[in-house]
């Protein structure tokens, strides 16, 4: 059964002039770690705010644990945990006081659900008397997760939990989510980092309020098997220009130190590229056929979508 069911959700801002969500539909299975991946402004936060009953959709339906986000909002608020993208706990209360406050608001106690947060809380417990505003980014993250978990939610919504967190803390954070998943909590998480997609059971690529693709990471990449080549030459700027000219080249975009190129004709791509670049006067040419990453897929889908 789907724990989160989203059907044709639509949301506009500024009297309809800005389209934030354009008929979005998807299901999140029970106990799944589901990732919403997309750039800033894709509509991730709007979607989260609708699912956590903070925002009314302009059209469509959505259910969380079988409850309607518009009609059953008070029931939903008891069973979801939400961690907004911006740190939203009381900066002038200590770790301990924040946790206690959010426990009491849900009519429960820290002791009762301590087992849920234990392995996260022990990391920040030495600083429990410290005011939340004085914590480091990683510690704030952990505290926010504890507060979102303290009422034993069925579904956890995490809006860009790793944005602005150092790589080590990011990895730790995903490890924590894995452990929470084993407790049967359904987790919906959004991130602008493509590399975090591999940590999710299934992902949805979202751009400009539309879901471009939704599946497991390997299936998405497999479906978009491309003739992808990593190209490099000594004059990078000229290379970028020249690779945009021929009709045979489907797409070309800068990717780190190299230029990633896809071709319309699958055969002899390497030879074609080397020939073409030699003719246009490049030297130090390297062309490798590579397997696409999620980032390549995303860029391809984005270009198609435009």
């Amino acid at each position: 059964m789907a724990t989160v069911h989203v059907e044709n959700i639509k949301k506009t801002y500024d009297k309809g002039s800005v389209l934030a969500l354009d008929n979005v539909s998807f299901d999140v299975k029970s106990g799944e770690l589901f990732g919403l991946i997309g750039p800033d402004g894709a509509g991730k936060t709007s979607l989260f705010r609708i699912l956590t009953t903070l925002l009314l959709p302009d059209g469509g339906h959505a259910q969380v644990a079988g409850l309607d986000v518009v009609n059953d909002l008070w029931k939903i608020r008891r069973i979801v945990g939400y961690m907004p993208g911006k740190f939203s706990l009381y900066q002038d209360l200590s770790i301990e006081e924040n946790l206690q406050f959010f426990a009491t608001v849900f009519n429960t106690t820290v002791e009762k659900n301590y087992h849920l947060i234990e392995d996260i809380y022990v990391q920040i417990e030495p600083f429990k008397k410290r005011l939340a505003g004085k914590l480091s980014g990683g510690m704030k993250q952990k505290l926010a997760l504890c507060c979102a978990l303290i009422h034993e939610p069925k579904v956890l919504f995490l809006d860009e939990p790793t944005t602005g967190v150092d790589p080590v803390s990011r990895k730790e954070f995903w490890d924590m989510l894995d452990r929470l998943k084993t407790r049967g909590i359904t987790i919906v998480v959004s991130t602008p980092y493509m590399d975090e997609a591999s940590r999710c059971d299934r992902i949805a690529l979202i751009q400009k309020g539309k879901i471009l693709e939704l599946d497991t990471l390997t299936k998405i990449i497999g479906r978009h098997a491309q003739n992808l080549y990593a190209v490099n030459a000594d004059n990078r700027y000229q290379l970028m220009h020249d690779l945009r000219k021929p009709a045979e080249i489907e797409s070309s975009f800068a990717f780190g130190e190299e230029q990633h190129v896809t071709l319309r004709t699958p055969e002899n791509g390497e030879n074609y590229l080397i020939d073409y670049l030699t003719q246009t006067g490049h030297s130090d040419i390297t062309v490798r056929k590579i397997d696409p990453t999620i980032e390549d897929v995303f860029i391809k889908l984005m270009l198609e979508n435009q």
Partner: protein
Amino acid sequence: MNNLFFLLQKEFRQIFRNPTILRMILLMPIIQLIVIPLAADYEIKQISISVVDQDHSPYARKLVQKLTASGYFQLVEYTQSYAQATQTVGDGKTDLILTIPPHFERDLIKLNKGQLYLAADAVNGVRAGLGTAYASQMIGDFNREIREEWMLLPKFNEIPQIEITSANWFNQHFDYHLFMVPGIMAILVTMVGAFLTALNIVAEKEVGTIEQINVTPLKKHEFILGKLIPFWVLGMVSITLGMLIAFVVFSILPVGSYLTVYVFSAVYLLGVLGIGLLISTFADTQQQATLFAFFCMMVFILLGGLYTPIESMPDWAQWLTKANPPAYFIKVIRAVYIKGSTFTDLLPDFFAMVGFAILFNGLAVLNYRKRST
């Protein structure tokens, strides 16, 4: 109810942890109540006067002596040239020029009348008005003294005279503090009630904590009560502090009952908390709230009768003050403190305050509903 208790616990914890709020509540009343009544005094003393004496007679000297001995005037210049005196006015060093023309004494005795010329620097209208009024009164006195001196023994009053004797009721000694201190107390309660509440709620919006609160099962009314109750309590604390300072520093005690003061404060606070709540529904940042509060405060004070009496405002402005909650509270506090008015005397004001409380809280709730979609 349980939730409300935890909210209040949280709120008070935050308030006691916030040095700015504590300072506002504890130090602000002390400073405002002590400094403002002492500094902003309406009674104008030390009016600078230039005397252009072109007569140099004993009477002229007597007149000047009378003026300077009163304590109201300070002689800054004694000259023979009117031009020089106007120059002193131009320099801003004197407020008033009294010109005693040549043959003043002679004319007074021989022709039975003399002329004096009084000129005032009217850049500061209040000083000019009061200065000429004081001076005219003293010259009048001087005139009478001379008449008495010459008539020596008036056997009978040839000219019927009306003499006005005035008595000040309630504030016999015309003590400015007695008038000002209760008014400032009213303003303090307004500031604590309206603006600290507004800023506090807007801060939750700005920091984003309201987002986290909104996904909890906490009901709206619990959240709002959790905000209003602490500031209601703080408002009552600040009026108590105000009364304490009024007694300790100025020995001012209410002629009426403390209970009346508290009952009115309690109801008035509900109204100003409503104003605070209303501001918080349309301000998204503390900066917006502060600017709006600043604007409100100007209106509250200037149209509230704190400095300028409402009765002397033009008709349209008097109507405006009827929509200004602090005007009622300032009036009530003064009435209880100075006149000893009882609750029943002030019943119309009580109803007005109840009305304001319902109006502002109602508007806040309506506006909140409208914006929450």
